[in-house]
Symmetry: C2
Subunit: 192 residues, 2 copies
């Protein structure tokens, strides 16, 4: 079936790019891995770069459907941020090695990535503004700085977090939520 | 002079890797850019990967000398963290495009990178523990989570921060410092 071959090409493509590097992977390698002629791949993908773009798109589509869209349904802005942190982390850690692929590839090869990152940043920034207004906060942190900071804190966890370490992923999410809302001291009343 | 040719090779190598990508750059390209035979490059660098490692090392040496070592001289742990944030940001933003190089290259090509990141993380984690103790904080955020979070918040700024935008780099540093010590609400007393 056409769909299933396309899916296998996406899957094997991601694996090969990750293993050999994008530049070093050829369509011939991919054909070999999936058991088709290189020429047959061009039925599904215009070029190696098209394949890469589509791997990236698939990944973002899942992200949007499981995190961004459901988050937008949540009325309370603080809960919306917490939902985002928890689910973005789970998504990130499940992706595991695949996240490395998306990251390891030079941005010049995935042109649409910037637009997608912008969607996430706008979602976070707008939610933070709404949160500040609804709480009557007057001296809050610049929402753009806070949005980018939160985005990178969460999206880089796969680089260091060890699932078998002292914190499980729920505890990791809780620590990041506290850091983001209360700062490192983690309490509202401090000796500062 | 030998030193100066080595430096020019490091400089032009960084530029080429950035422009063409590491995989696509050949020693011949580099020789052309510096005006020497490819063979002459091997007098200074064992391989393309050796050149890359040394570019990375040079960059970390500067980082250590201008940020990590001076920070360690600061007695107060909170001031030490603030010094780190301010100077790491300046360094990051000055590096500008070159930071992209180091980031864009697959970690498998720069084996020593992990050891260096670990140095930074340990510095932050230990300083945060010291801070918590000296303030008598009891319910603070896990210092490892806080250390990695801060590391990524600061080291990813070059990807989004625009020096001509609404915040100058001092203001950016102040916002990150507030976010880290007080959380997004940015104040000790909130309506939460």
């Amino acid at each position: 079936m056409r769909t299933s071959k396309r899916e296998r090409l996406l899957e094997e493509g991601a694996k090969l790019f990750l293993k050999k590097g994008y530049d070093r992977t050829t369509m011939k390698d991919l054909g070999k891995a999936v058991g088709v002629q290189a020429a047959a791949i061009y039925y599904h993908f215009k070029s190696k770069n098209d394949l890469l773009e589509q791997i990236d798109e698939e990944s973002f589509r899942r992200f949007r459907e499981t995190i961004l869209d459901p988050a937008r349904e949540i009325k309370d802005p603080e809960e919306r941020i917490k939902f985002f942190i928890r689910n973005r982390l789970t998504y990130q850690l499940e992706l595991g090695k695949k996240a490395l692929l998306v990251e390891s590839i030079s941005p010049r090869n995935v042109k649409s990535r910037k637009d997608r990152d912008r969607d996430v940043i706008h979602f976070l920034r707008d939610t933070l503004r709404e949160l500040a207004q609804s709480r009557g906060l007057e001296d809050f942190v610049n929402p753009t700085v806070a949005a980018f900071s939160l985005h990178y804190v969460v999206s880089q966890t796969y680089k260091w977090y060890k699932p078998k370490g002292p914190l499980n992923s729920t505890q990791l999410a809780d620590q990041i939520i506290r850091l983001f809302f209360l700062g490192f001291p983690g309490e509202l009343t401090t000796a500062r």
